[in-house]
């Protein structure tokens, strides 16, 4: 390590909202420590770097690469592969890289429908000839090239091997800082790194453990949208019919949302050992519905169940809001694809 000077840090922003970069800055003055310890080798968001610089680095030159954002197009994938080649430790930083996050929800539709909505059927669009972006365009000056738009969004670990994952949308600053300290300790004082492939910067139990609201036996008659009801701030929101993904989501964020009266949306992803967060939440919600009691006749039960489930708007979008690209089914099958 010493011959090459300070450890090299890289952070790339693939298909995401940039919130993760801001979260890194949110570690307050510790950013100075980071600057002191690390040489920034590649961080396009905060300084001017060129891809060819990275290509110039020898393999493994970058000590720590924080890769945030999902793989939406061919450029994201190429950069992922390039950074993997150039980095010793590759971290899937934030929900997008980990499991597709909000961009991943576009897996419920198709590439054609997406392009159609963006370029053709849109109030602010004036595109009479219906031109769609082409990967190659022969301009007089030469052929122009833009990345190919993928039909399915993929998470980072579906294109390259990932060493660690920091969940969260965005990951909590204090979690980021603890991870950075661990990496620094490992790089400088040779402390051992956490086991490969593990999730770091999070708890190992569901959000409910960190949530201070009072929990009781749950029997839900119907669900409400957040705007429909003012929740009792002392009692578990789920029991009041507000959708809360807390039970099926990894803790670590300190139950930020439920404590302020907003149901957890599940951004820290599933618990360790759970392959599909959405399925786990679906079975939990279905199990605690207080309708369809034994002894009633079947038609009556069916009617009641339909009524309650009509109040769960968009189950797929709710249960897989963050983990769509990393779920078992990964995408909806739209006209055969």
């Amino acid at each position: 390590m010493s011959d090459k000077g300070k450890p090299k840090l890289a952070m790339y922003w693939a298909s995401g909202c940039g919130g993760c970069e801001i979260a890194v800055l949110n570690i307050q003055e510790n950013i100075l420590v980071v600057d002191e310890v690390f040489d920034i080798a590649f961080f396009p968001c905060i300084a001017d770097f060129k891809v060819k610089d990275v290509k110039g680095y020898p393999d493994g030159y970058i000590d720590l690469c924080l890769f945030n954002g999902a793989i939406r197009n061919s450029e994201n994938e190429e950069m992922a592969q390039l950074l993997r080649q150039k980095s010793k430790v590759m971290v899937a930083f934030g929900s997008c890289a980990y499991e597709g996050c909000i961009p991943g929800l576009s897996n419920l539709t198709s590439k054609e429908a997406t392009l159609h909505t963006v370029y053709l059927d849109n109030p602010t669009i004036d595109n009479p000839e219906g031109i769609l972006p082409q990967p190659f365009y022969d301009a007089p000056e030469g052929t122009l090239e833009i990345p190919v738009f993928y039909h399915t969004i993929k998470s980072l670990d579906q294109v390259v091997d990932v060493d660690y994952t920091i969940p969260g949308c965005p990951p909590e600053p204090h979690q980021i800082w603890t991870v950075l300290q661990a990496v620094v300790a490992a790089l400088l004082e040779g402390a051992d790194l956490p086991p490969a492939g593990s999730i770091i910067g999070a708890g190992n139990v569901a959000v409910c453990q960190e949530c201070t609201l009072k929990k009781d036996v749950k029997k839900i008659e119907r669900f409400y949208r957040p705007y429909e009801v003012i929740p009792d701030r002392e009692v578990c929101l789920l029991e009041q019919g507000l959708m809360c993904m807390g039970p099926a989501t990894l803790s670590g964020c300190g139950a930020l949302c439920p404590i302020v009266g907003m149901g957890c949306r599940g951004c820290y992803g599933p618990l360790d050992g759970v392959e599909d967060q959405g399925a786990k939440m679906l079975t939990a919600i279905a199990s605690i519905l207080g309708v369809g009691k034994p002894g009633e006749d079947e038609a009556e039960i069916e009617r009641q169940l339909d009524a309650v489930m009509d109040t769960i708007v968009d189950p797929a979008g709710t249960f897989y809001r963050f983990s769509m690209a990393h779920s078992l089914l990964r995408r909806a099958k739209v006209n055969g694809r």
Binding site: A206, C208, K215, A248, L271, K280, T283, A284
Partner: protein, 676 residues
């Protein structure tokens, strides 16, 4: 690469499997293709369940150091115990043996040999993937409470109670009616011996009533059953008799003095009367009378109290303030001997019961023949005076009939023969008796001899189902008579037989509340409504719920000897359990991984057996292994995956699923990426 050493054994089952599944090919295939899944030996053998077959496994375990065994043969419900025992004998934990049902689910139900063989391979792959993840388990040992609960004190219940009590163990005998004895107490004679029913039943009733080990709870019903085999907690409601049992001597003066006479439609089957304070029949056990609050003048209008006034006992045993009592008893096993209900003959309007006066049901006629019955044993028409000159007995009323009950009620033929004999005996030998039957079913000991005797007495037997019983006379000699319109299939003609009296041999139906009672005790009812036995041929007195046994007509129509036998059989099973002192239960249980539980309490409503309890202090849920029945609903409900279940954990099921998905239905690996 699985580190387990797995042995795969495919059974020919004679030709049952080998005829449709190429067993040799499957064995060879398993050896080659599943080697990297841990299969070290794969054999096929003619009869795996035979001792030789089992030795094959045992030798392989010893010589080849097998750590897992997969047996592809019949259904686990048949031989799972056999192969587990075989593995245990060879030193391998029995729960590391998995059965794959290639007989019931493959060879017997498919027609295409290639596809059947393919499916067998796929299912064996599933079994291999799954068994690799099995863990060694020890059966759960549950102490057995030596007390037993017997519900229903008809002849079956009484027999069961006496047998257990005689072996020195306590029995709680619960009976819904004021007296024990059940339907048998209503009969006059019993076939085929024509013993007087009371004479052979009363001694057993007295024994049951006074046995030191039998706690008789008559006029009581079971309210609730909690717990599990070996440790049931039963709540019993002892209905208020309004008679103080410690003081009452059973003298019966209150019954004489009571001014209120009502039709008794339970014991007297609607043919006789009883007082508002009554004892069902003289030999009732216990001997204490009961006040029927619906008809008692005091309870309805607050006057009278004749029974209290004339009661000679000090202090007065009539106590109008008496309340229902709720008792709680702990028992290890439960025997349900709740008996049957008679088919309601009014449901067949063309037989005229309820419209035509002189049409009687079998129970009404039983009461009529009984010496303590409404006519003191004399056969009379509905006017109670005239003796019939001609009587018709109709078999299969409401049985063997697609409009009512498909099944045969077993006892109606013999009962009808008994009625024919009783009419001849009581109303004189030259009384004409016509029995209308479909098939004469006299299957058991001395039954057919009784049929020959009744034939010899000159009873006419007409083979044909009765179409109609009408009083519309048509031919001369039919005036004022009941005319039986039936087809006599033996002479191929329609016949109109004028008679004075008709007896309908109504069929046996399950108790009207058998579904609720079944639900209360955690057992199910079969298509016909009787309780479902564990196995109709090999295990008729047990049920699928451990510790719950059934006996007598509650399990299906049967005659008295069979009910007694089943009562004794059920008690033998219970005594076997009690002797074991404890019971080894299938170790299929759920358990919470404490460090993964977030205290979200989603699972808290999942358990009808109250096995899930929440610790407020540590904000963590725990499952009581003793109460848990292993259904797994909480395992599937836990959003953190913090609850796992032995034998049916997520990993095991998913492994089996992955194995099943390996092979396509008609050959070739399903998942070769198609060259699109």
């Amino acid at each position: 690469m699985s580190k387990e050493r797995i042995g795969v054994y495919i059974c020919h089952c004679g030709t049952n499997i080998a005829s449709m599944v190429d067993v040799e090919n499957v064995a060879v295939w398993a050896k080659e293709n599943l080697a990297d899944d841990g299969v070290v030996v794969a054999r096929d053998y003619k009869f795996m369940c035979s001792s030789l077959g089992q030795e094959l496994i045992q030798d392989d375990i010893k010589e080849k150091g097998l750590t897992r065994v997969v047996v592809a043969a019949c259904s686990p419900h048949l031989h799972e115990q056999t192969f587990r025992a075989a593995c245990a004998k060879a030193g391998l934990n029995p729960f590391l043996c998995e059965m794959v049902s290639v007989r019931e689910q493959v060879s017997w139900v498919h027609t295409d040999k290639a596809m059947a063989t393919q499916k067998a391979k796929a299912m064996i792959t599933g079994g291999v993937e799954r068994v690799a993840l099995h863990e060694p388990l020890e059966p759960l040992h549950v102490p057995i409470n030596e007390a037993t609960l017997v519900v229903g004190a008809g002849i079956a219940g009484i027999q069961a109670a006496i047998e257990i009590a005689d072996s020195g163990f306590p029995v709680y005998l619960v009976e819904r009616e004021p007296s024990i004895g059940g339907h048998m107490a209503q009969f006059d004679k019993t076939f085929p011996t024509l013993d007087c029913s009371a004479c052979i039943l009363t001694p057993k009733m007295v024994t049951a009533g006074s046995h030191p080990n039998i706690h008789l709870l008559s006029y009581s019903e079971v309210e609730r059953v909690d717990g599990y085999v070996g440790n049931f907690t039963v709540t019993i409601r002892k209905k208020a008799r309004y008679v103080n049992e410690d003081v009452c001597t059973g003298c019966g003066i209150c019954i004489e003095k009571c001014p209120m006479k009502v039709i008794d439609d339970v014991f007297e089957a609607g043919l006789g009367y009883r007082k508002a304070v009554y004892r069902p029949f003289p030999q009732a056990v216990p001997k204490y009378p009961v006040i029927d609050t619906e008809n008692c003048i005091y309870f309805q209008r607050g006057k009278c109290q004749a029974c209290q006034i004339f009661c000679p006992t000090q202090p007065n045993s009539i106590d109008f303030e008496q309340e229902d009592e709720l008792l709680q008893v702990d028992v290890g096993n439960i025997i349900l001997a709740t008996g049957y209900d008679l088919f309601d003959a009014r449901r067949i309007p063309q037989y005229g019961y309820g419209r035509l006066a002189n049409v009687f049901t079998s129970l009404e006629f039983e009461r009529m023949c009984n010496a303590s019955g409404p006519t003191n044993g004399a056969v009379r028409l509905r006017d109670g005076v005239t003796e019939p000159e001609a009587v018709a007995v109709i078999h299969c009323v409401g049985s063997r009939d697609k409009n009512y009950n498909n099944y045969c009620s077993v006892i109606c033929c013999m009962q009808s023969l008994k009625f024919a004999h009783l009419v001849k005996e009581r109303a004189g030998p030259n009384t004409e008796v016509y029995n209308f039957y479909i098939d004469m079913r006299t299957a058991f000991k001395d039954y057919d001899e009784f049929y020959q005797k009744v034939l010899a007495e000159g009873v006419h037997f007409v083979r044909g189902r009765v179409a109609e019983v009408t009083d519309a006379a048509r031919l001369p000699g039919e005036e004022g008579k009941l005319i039986i319109q039936a087809e006599d299939t033996l002479i191929g003609k329609q016949r109109r037989v004028p008679v004075d009296m008709v007896i309908l041999s109504a069929g046996l139906e399950p108790r009207h509340d058998s579904v609720e009672v079944g639900h209360q005790f955690g057992i199910s009812c079969s298509v016909n409504g009787f309780f479902t036995e564990k196995h109709p041929k090999l295990d008729p007195v047990a049920t699928m719920t451990e510790g719950i046994f059934i006996a007598g007509c509650a399990q299906g129509p049967k005659d008295i000897p069979a009910s007694v036998v089943q009562g004794a059989a059920a008690s033998a099973r219970v005594l076997g359990r009690i002797q074991q002192k404890e019971l080894a239960l299938e170790p299929v249980r759920a358990s919470v991984i404490e460090e993964k539980c977030s205290g979200c309490r989603i699972c808290n409503t999942m358990c009808p057996f109250n096995a899930i309890l929440f610790h407020e202090d540590q904000m963590v849920t725990e499952i009581n292994p003793a109460l848990c029945q292993g259904c797994g609903s909480c395992v599937a409900a836990c959003p953190s995956g913090a609850i796992t279940g032995t034998q049916f954990s997520d990993q095991q099921v998913l492994a089996q699923l992955e194995g099943l998905l390996m092979l396509s239905v008609n050959g070739g690996r399903v998942l070769e990426p198609e060259m699109a």
